[in-house]
Symmetry: C2
Subunit: 198 residues, 2 copies
Amino acid sequence: MVEPLSRRRAIEDVASDLFRERGYAATSVRDIARALSMQGPSLYAHVTSKEDVLSSIVDRAAGRFEAAADAAEARAEATRPGDPAQAIEQLVRAHVRVVTDDVGEATVFVHEWRALGPERRAAVLERRDAYEDRFRRHIADGIANGTFGMTDPAIASTVVLTTLNGVATWYDPEGRLPADRIADHLVELTLRTLEASR
Amino acid sequence: MVEPLSRRRAIEDVASDLFRERGYAATSVRDIARALSMQGPSLYAHVTSKEDVLSSIVDRAAGRFEAAADAAEARAEATRPGDPAQAIEQLVRAHVRVVTDDVGEATVFVHEWRALGPERRAAVLERRDAYEDRFRRHIADGIANGTFGMTDPAIASTVVLTTLNGVATWYDPEGRLPADRIADHLVELTLRTLEASR
DNA sequence: TCGTGTGCCTAACGATCGTTCGTTAGGAGG
DNA sequence: CCTCCTAACGAACGATCGTTAGGCACACGA
């Protein structure tokens, strides 16, 4: 990780990793400070509350997922318009890229947002639902035009999204496969899961 | 949930649900007591520590997964010996049954065991690895004899296991589909993921 | 009727939590 | 030199954490 621009951003970066490893509730403000060689209370010069740090991380991660999905759908529409398989492929690649670009941040978006207070949690839930609906919509399109076909579209969608979110759990930047290869395999597995049975 | 046999067991049951909803670290001993209409310290008449409760839950869940997998593999060997697809089908059904029989307990086994201390966590990790290796072994068998075939067996195994563990996240006992139907669909999706491409 | 436990209570402990506060060290600009 | 700003410090607050200790009430066997 390179030297970040602002101190605030540095705090969020180490907090992402700690939240990912131990979870939000099990990570104390002093833990975050210690990882920056600071005293716990010193963080409050840059941050208004612990939950605020979590909220910022979640917001930024959500923004990255949304922007990547926007670009993916535009790309799919530009190359093979109306093709659900192409849309899903681009969405999967975009998702994997966002996760592998910053695993800590992505994990917080996938799991730790539940620790937010009720109002903020509801807002995040809404964004998550909207994001996942992109996938569901293209899956529904594919069923409608015969590209896809499965006994239960709802379960298939859930399984696909669970698989994609799971990447944040097991991806290892030092691992055997580069992010691009992982994306290739996930595209293959996803389309195989969705496509009409023979 | 019926009236449990012992007070100790009742404590573990409500703790399972709370750990599932909020996580171990975010659940206080007094939260568990309140759910039983008791005072926090009163729990210590039945329990030696908070981590001990978590440990018991994890152990019991692990035992249920292992026993179900034992029976599944025996059943597969009795009906269609040496058939990897049959073994995987039985293992998937067994896994889904264990999860749906007690979602709280299963979720704790899938996620919250990380909150255990180092020695206990290592022991659980070993059991989890052994359990997951059953799946990987049958997948490897299927590749060896041509039943299965995919570009990257390691990723395929990981995806399958992520999918199965994910059931604990989204399964809703009040939901549209009964547990048996969910198992049917997961068997279909799993085998479709694994089988040799056309 | 009388112990004798079991099951839960309240009080309280030390540790740690998130957070507020007053202050200090060091550098930039007039 | 004086001033102001940034960045951090250490003390301390009230709340809550997991846990221990001691006592009260009610059931049951003698």
